[in-house]
């Protein structure tokens, strides 16, 4: 047992992961600016449709559940990686990958519907802000999926080494972070987008979504 070098590796790895944590925090600031833009612009529909007529809450709820589940399987994958069982890591990350891809597919379908109905980002300030915010999140998801595919390949080829374990840990931090951002998108953009208008037009009572 070479504990000293093990400690050294541990220290170096925690530094790398801390560096990644710094990146994630700055990414949070990026999303904060997009949220602020959205919050300022969400009423500026320029006579166009607003959230209540555009968003289908059931659809978005399914999207949200898929992403939450993928975050959960990602956590299970990391637990398996710490136990050192390669097959479980591959299985859980594959599940995460499939869930992430279906989330992305649903989001792109939603975008496609919006654009083909003439409600693209050029329609109003509200839609510009919406597409920027949700699109940036989708871009992050895409990058995360690419990264996940590469890491899956690495794990299958090389097995669970300390370096792959470190990369997997960083990927899981990234994935959970995206999940957290989505919770706020779901709450602020979709849920509140629907509620606020109902409150303003006094349609509140007895109208289940």
């Amino acid at each position: 047992m070479n504990t000293q070098s093990h400690d050294a590796v541990e220290a170096k790895e925690s530094k790398t992961i801390f560096g990644f944590w710094l990146y994630v925090m700055t990414d949070c600031v990026l999303f904060a600016s997009l949220f602020a833009t959205y919050a300022v612009l969400h009423n500026n529909t320029y006579g166009g449709p607003s959230g209540v007529s555009l968003f289908s809450l059931h659809y978005v709820l399914i999207e949200t559940l898929i992403l939450l589940t993928s975050s959960f399987t990602c956590g299970l994958a990391i637990l398996a990686a710490q136990r050192g069982s390669k097959n479980q890591v591959v299985a859980w990350f594959s599940a995460t990958f499939i869930l992430g891809t279906s989330f992305l597919a649903m989001e792109l379908t939603e975008f496609h519907h919006l654009v083909t109905d003439g409600n693209s980002w050029r329609r109003s300030g509200f839609l510009s802000a919406y597409f920027t915010l949700v699109g940036t999140h989708g871009l992050h998801i895409t990058i995360g999926l690419l990264w996940m595919a590469i890491l899956l390949f690495q794990v299958m080829r090389k097995g669970l080494k300390p370096t792959t374990l470190r990369r997997l840990t960083m990927l899981s931090i990234f994935w959970h972070f995206l999940d957290l951002i989505w919770i706020f998108i779901f709450t602020i953009v979709y849920l509140m987008g629907v509620i606020r208008i109902l409150v303003a037009t006094k349609l509140i009572p007895a109208k289940p979504l």
Binding site: M25, N43, L57, R196, A200
Partner: protein, 99 residues
């Protein structure tokens, strides 16, 4: 880890419940923040590091920047709306009523 399922159920409750105006908005934001904290602790393991808690410090800084950023933007833009010329306010109100 399974605590996430709890919060998902809470979400389902909100979505299928009959709306109650502003209290619902507050409830939704509360739920989002709860879920945020739950995930921070269970997935990102925040607050479980040893003594020089750098992660926590950077996280605190991030929260501060976000609060200033979002809160400040909304504050300024709200006042801007409030102080706009009457015709613009009328347009604004019309657009609100038209929805």
């Amino acid at each position: 880890m399974t605590s996430i399922i709890l919060t998902v159920e809470a979400y389902l409750l909100v979505v299928h419940r009959v709306l109650q105006g502003k209290s619902l908005v507050a409830a939704i934001i509360g739920l989002a923040l709860t879920q945020f904290l739950v995930q921070l602790f269970f997935f990102l393991h925040l607050g479980r590091e040893t003594k020089p808690r750098w992660k926590l410090m950077v996280f605190g800084l991030m929260v501060m920047i976000v609060v200033i950023f979002v809160g400040g933007s909304l504050w300024i833009m709200y006042n801007l709306n409030y102080n706009m010329s009457p015709s613009q306010i009328n347009n604004y109100l019309n657009s609100q009523d038209g929805l």
